[in-house]
C-alpha cells in the first residue's frame, strides 16, 4: 500500500465508503462543480503546449506554482465543456495535494484514479485521467 498524503488518504477513504454507483456519481459531480479554472495571473489562453496533459481527450492543462513556503499550488484548465470527469479529478487533486511539498506530490501515482472513479470509468477515459495524475507528478518533479 503506498502511503498517500493525509488529505488525499482522507478523500480516498470517503470514496472507499461509497459503494452505491449513484452516490459515487453524485460525489464526483459535486467535485466537478467545484472545479475552478486556472486564474489569469497563472496562465491565459492560449495555454502553452508544455502544460497540456497528453492523451487526455478533455484537453486538460495543468500547472504547479510554488507558494512562498516552498509548497506547490496546483491549477488546471479543462477545455472540453463536457469533460466532467476531468474537472472532478482536477478539483480532487487540487483539494488533496495543493499546499504540499513537491516531494509529496511527486509520489502520488495514477492508481488513485481507479480508487476514485471505480465503475465510472472506461479504459480510454481512465488512461486520460491517469495521465492527468502523471502530469501533476511530472510538474512536481520539476520542483524537487
Amino acid at each position: 500500500m503506498p502511503a498517500y498524503p493525509e488529505r488525499l488518504q482522507a478523500l480516498l477513504d470517503v470514496f472507499a465508503g461509497v459503494t452505491d454507483t449513484h452516490e459515487r456519481t453524485q460525489l464526483l459531480i459535486d467535485f466537478a462543480r467545484r472545479f475552478k479554472d486556472v486564474p489569469p495571473e497563472v496562465a491565459t489562453r492560449p495555454f502553452g503546449a508544455e502544460h497540456l496533459v497528453k492523451h487526455c481527450e478533455s484537453e486538460a492543462y495543468a500547472w504547479a506554482v510554488p507558494n512562498a513556503d516552498g509548497t506547490l499550488k496546483l491549477h488546471f484548465a479543462v477545455e472540453n465543456p463536457s469533460g466532467v470527469s476531468a474537472k472532478a479529478l482536477a478539483a480532487i487533486l487540487d483539494k488533496a495535494l495543493s499546499g504540499l511539498p513537491a516531494a509529496e506530490i511527486a509520489k502520488v501515482d495514477p492508481e488513485i484514479v481507479e480508487k476514485l472513479f471505480r465503475q465510472n470509468i472506461s479504459m480510454g477515459k481512465g488512461m486520460g485521467l491517469m495521465s492527468m495524475v502523471l502530469a501533476v507528478q511530472a510538474l512536481a518533479k520539476r520542483h524537487l
Binding site: 449513484h22 459531480i29 497528453k54 472506461s122 488512461m127 495521465s131
Partner: protein
Amino acid sequence: MTAIADRGYRHPDRLVSTDWVAAHTSNPNVRIIESNEDTLLYATGHVPGAVHVDWTSDLNDQLRRDYIEREGFQALMSKIGVTPDTTVVFYGDKNNWWACYAFWVFQLFGHTKAHVMDGGRLKWQKEGRAWSTDMSAYAATTYVAPARDDARHRILRDEVIQVQQRGGQFVDVRSPEEYAGTRMHMPEYPNEGAIRGGHIPGAKSVPWARAINPEDGTFKPADELRALYVEQNGLRGDEDIVAYCRIGERSSHTWFALTYLLGFEKVRNYDGSWTEWGNLVGVPIEK
C-alpha cells in the same frame, strides 16, 4: 446542415433530428437513451425523460470479454421500461460515438426500432434545449429477446483472420498515429492495451470523426461520405467490410455510417479490434 431527408442517405429514417426528439420526450412509445464516454455526464443533465445506458456496466458481461447475453439484455430492457415495440433513440457525447456503440449492441438482439439523434449532446446543447437532472424511471416491462445473434453485424477473431488472409476490406478508424503504430503509449504509462503498434495489413485509414461535421456533431451528407469512403479510400460497398478501432467503439460509429447512411450491406464491427489483433500471436501487422 440540410434536413436529414435531403442528405441522400440510403436509410435516412435511422437518424432523427433534435426537433423530432424534442417532440417525443413524453411519448410512451419512445425511449430516449443516453450513452456517453464520460459516465458522469448523464447525471449533470440529459434530455428530459432520457434513461442512461452505460456500455461498461450495462452492455458488457462483467466476467467475460463479451456483451451481455439474452437474459442480461432482457433485464436491461425491463429496467429502462422498453418493450420490443418501443422505439429507442440513442444520443450521447463525443459526436454519438458511444450512442452508436449502444445502438450496435441493440442490433445484436434484433431491436430494429432504433435510431440515433443526429448531432447528439453537442447539438442539443448548442440549440439551447432543455436539460433535466431528474433520474428518469419507468415501470418495469417484460421483454422477451431472441438469443444474441452476432453473425450479421459483428465479426470475431477467427473470421477476421480469414478475411485478412483473403485480402478482404478493412477500415481502421483510429487516429493516423495509432494506424501508423507511432502512438502506443503515453509517457511513463507503458501499455495502451496492445503489444504491437500498427494496423491490420491492407486496412484503409479513415478516422471515424471524418464522417461528422465537427461544429454540431451531425453526420455529413451521403455524397461527402461516399467521396470519403469510396472515392478516396476505394471501399467497395457490395463486398465484406470490417471496421475496427481499439475496442470496437469508434468503429461502431463508422459501421453505422456505412451500413445505414451509405447502405452497405456487409459491414461488420470487429470489437476485438486492436486490443486483440495487436496482441494476437502469429498474426501479421503492418506499420
